[in-house]
Symmetry: C2
Subunit: 123 residues, 2 copies
């Protein structure tokens, strides 16, 4: 889905909204930039435990194409690139806030159920 197959015909708004967030790390990138405002490539990499450089770069490029974030290049050595949310990215994050709350409640439910199971006597 390298920015060519995307922007497909959408069936509803949720469909269109999901399109720009699907990707293993995209919602976390959004979250990270929301929290820090501006982050460098390496900072994002260290902030997303487990992400590969390839996926991070690829996701960042797609999100830039989707108008979610800005990429500011400082022509220094060693190179420096800073990422930050555009107004569209900010509004997307706000639109995801309700989903975030729902997810937190889900985590709580799972923890509550889990404790009933996992705390069963180990021996």
């Amino acid at each position: 889905m390298a920015a060519g197959a995307r922007r497909g015909p959408y069936i509803c708004g949720i469909d269109a909204g999901m399109d720009v967030v699907t990707g293993k790390w995209k919602s976390l990138i959004l979250w990270e930039l929301h929290n820090y405002g501006t982050r460098r490539f390496g900072e994002l990499r260290r902030g997303l435990p487990g992400v590969s450089e390839k996926m991070l770069a690829q996701h960042l490029r797609e999100m830039e194409e989707d108008g979610l974030l800005d990429r500011k290049i400082y022509r220094e050595v060693p190179p420096r690139v800073e990422y930050s949310l555009t107004p569209h990215g900010i509004s997307l994050n706000e639109a995801l806030r309700a989903l975030g709350s729902w997810g937190q409640q889900r985590v709580k439910r799972l923890a509550a159920e889990g404790s009933l199971i996992e705390v069963s006597p180990p021996a």
Copy 2:
């Protein structure tokens, strides 16, 4: 991600919320059940143009496991199965409403930009 690898450790709420919606047709299933209240398997299949029976069944199972929808079996011939949203599914749909609005606005933007490009002289 067949219901075993899921429920992984989540980094934030959005992460946890996204988990239950990732899947090519899940958000559309949610949308369909939200609009119709109750739908049979075949109705869902016809309502989601392009979905395969395998994926529809698989997604419905996962969403049932995630507590998003109810499955009601009528032991008739030919068989009848009705799907509907649980309270959790309903609240998830509400949580996705903001994303849906965002997506609609994005579609409008893309249409506006697209018309400027695609209407360029064909010959």
